[in-house]
Symmetry: C2
Subunit: 306 residues, 2 copies
């Protein structure tokens, strides 16, 4: 594949940025890729493992002459990061991000944007519970969705170029409106994460069941919650604080439904439970058919114990 951007700058060098670097290198999608991280330790790690062609000590230096700048920092600091680099952005450059929340990012970034820059927010629906510059790998985005959330007046040519980059990194790209994005993600990601964090916290708190028992018998279902609940604390704090309304709405619906099921258990209403559990099975079938998970009976874990 040919070069799509001559120079790309990655601001923030965690799981997503490092995976983007390796995914771009895999196909030669970018000329030079610069990187910046706030912490000197992260910058040292990046230099040591060859993450980025050039690691810069300031964000301003990293974005110099960049045709594409991607903000890979927690949602809560997007606005202040852009305020700091706005004057250094090249005329005609595209500015994007990978935040899990879009309305808040748009509201906080837009006021700082120079007129000569194309702002095209994005969100890769991909991740693991690992974080940091060493967590990335080139295949993270393969066959995963990338949502582009163009703001009003986005240049179609700039959008098409960014779309080509993500497709080159393995993603399937769709466009979505910001508020709808935030609601969809509240359902598919933000509420499930908060629920998983909560359940893991409850298990840890319970005095009559030891931590070692919880850990030993986690294969009974709890294990899937702990994987979700091991995700980066700073990133998730920001997600909940910036997608507050949609998350709280979904959690409200969740609690309502949970109370109905609890009542069915208390009153011994087996039919209600059976009907409910039968209905939820169908969604799982849809996900397997959509290719977003494997149907292997051991969830693929047996083959991955490397």
């Amino acid at each position: 594949m040919s070069v799509i951007y001559n120079r790309v700058a990655l601001i923030g060098l965690g799981l997503i940025a490092s995976s983007m670097f390796w995914a771009m290198k895999r196909k030669g999608l970018a000329g030079e890729i610069t990187g910046y991280a706030r912490s000197a330790e992260t910058r040292d790690t990046a230099r040591r493992i060859g993450l980025c062609d050039r690691v810069c000590d300031t964000a301003n230096e990293a974005v110099q002459d960049a045709d594409l700048v991607v903000l890979c920092v927690p949602v809560g600091v997007m606005g202040s990061v852009v305020a700091g680099i706005a004057d250094d952005l090249k005329p005609g450059a595209t500015l994007s991000d990978v935040g899990s929340v879009k309305r808040d990012v748009i509201d906080n970034v837009s006021p700082h944007l120079p007129d000569h820059v194309h702002f095209i927010p994005g969100h890769p629906i991909a991740g693991t519970e690992h974080s940091g510059p060493e967590a990335g790998f080139a295949e993270l985005f393969d066959n995963r969705w990338l949502l582009l959330v163009p703001v009003e007046g986005s240049d179609p040519k700039a959008v098409a170029q960014l779309r080509a980059l993500w497709e080159g990194m393995g993603s399937n790209v769709e466009e979505m409106e910001a508020d709808h994005h935030d609601l969809v993600l509240a359902v598919t990601s933000h509420a499930p994460h908060l629920i998983a964090y909560t359940m893991v916290g409850v298990a840890d708190d319970l005095r009559r069941v030891t931590d070692s028992e919880v850990i030993k018998y986690s294969a009974a279902g709890f294990r899937d919650f702990t994987r979700i609940a091991a995700s980066d604390p700073t990133m998730w704090r920001d997600v909940f604080l910036t997608n507050k309304d949609a998350t709280l709405e979904i959690l409200g619906r969740f609690t309502e439904e949970l109370f109905a099921l609890q009542r069915a258990i208390r009153t011994g209403d087996g039919e209600h439970l059976h009907d409910y559990f039968t209905r939820t099975r169908a969604i799982r079938r849809g996900i397997i058919e959509a290719g977003q998970d494997t149907d292997a009976p051991d969830f693929g874990r047996g083959k991955a114990s490397s």
Copy 2:
């Protein structure tokens, strides 16, 4: 490995029984293995795929002369199944089960037990979201826990023999008291399952987000919930109805904790959220160290797409 029981009878031929059959065959742990399922269709399937040395049309026939009888039926029917076979159990035989709840099974099975039979309840902490006679595989119990819950006056020799069988099938065996078992499983399995079922139901119900959106973007966290929520509806209905008190207690604690986190989101208390999320990460580390999951960055899914 040598034969541990000359004749084993499996009552109910779903995921667990079929995995037991293949696991026993793998190491030659049993002489003849008979099987019975209530539905003629399941019995036909079992005969077609070679599941069990002999598939019987009645449970009474299957347990004739069996040294070990394992009840692999939903928890809610354990008592009535034992009432139906009690007169056919061989003197000195061991009766066990694989139910996810232990106090209720003991209370319902014990009244029907002849004096000359050893009753030793058991629970393999292993499973997938698949069910039925074709779902089983020999490796299901490898490096997974098997909890034995001997009742008062259990014969130590009979317990040791059953332990040897499960170890031969790949399990790590521990003994646990029935009520404690039910509480531990409420935390590690029953409450997480109900929560996952609830979240999947909410997503399905939501009018403003389409099912196809939920399915497409499931990789964002929701996917792990759908896996849990695809488990067998009859089995899980019975689990919740028979481990009612412990499940409701844990769900009560869960709701309390969830409300505290919702309040932190609403009031913008980022420190509370960050502290909570940092604490839950440690549990995940423990599970990986305990060998109950893989640390592969893509959760092993990339390698399993067969």
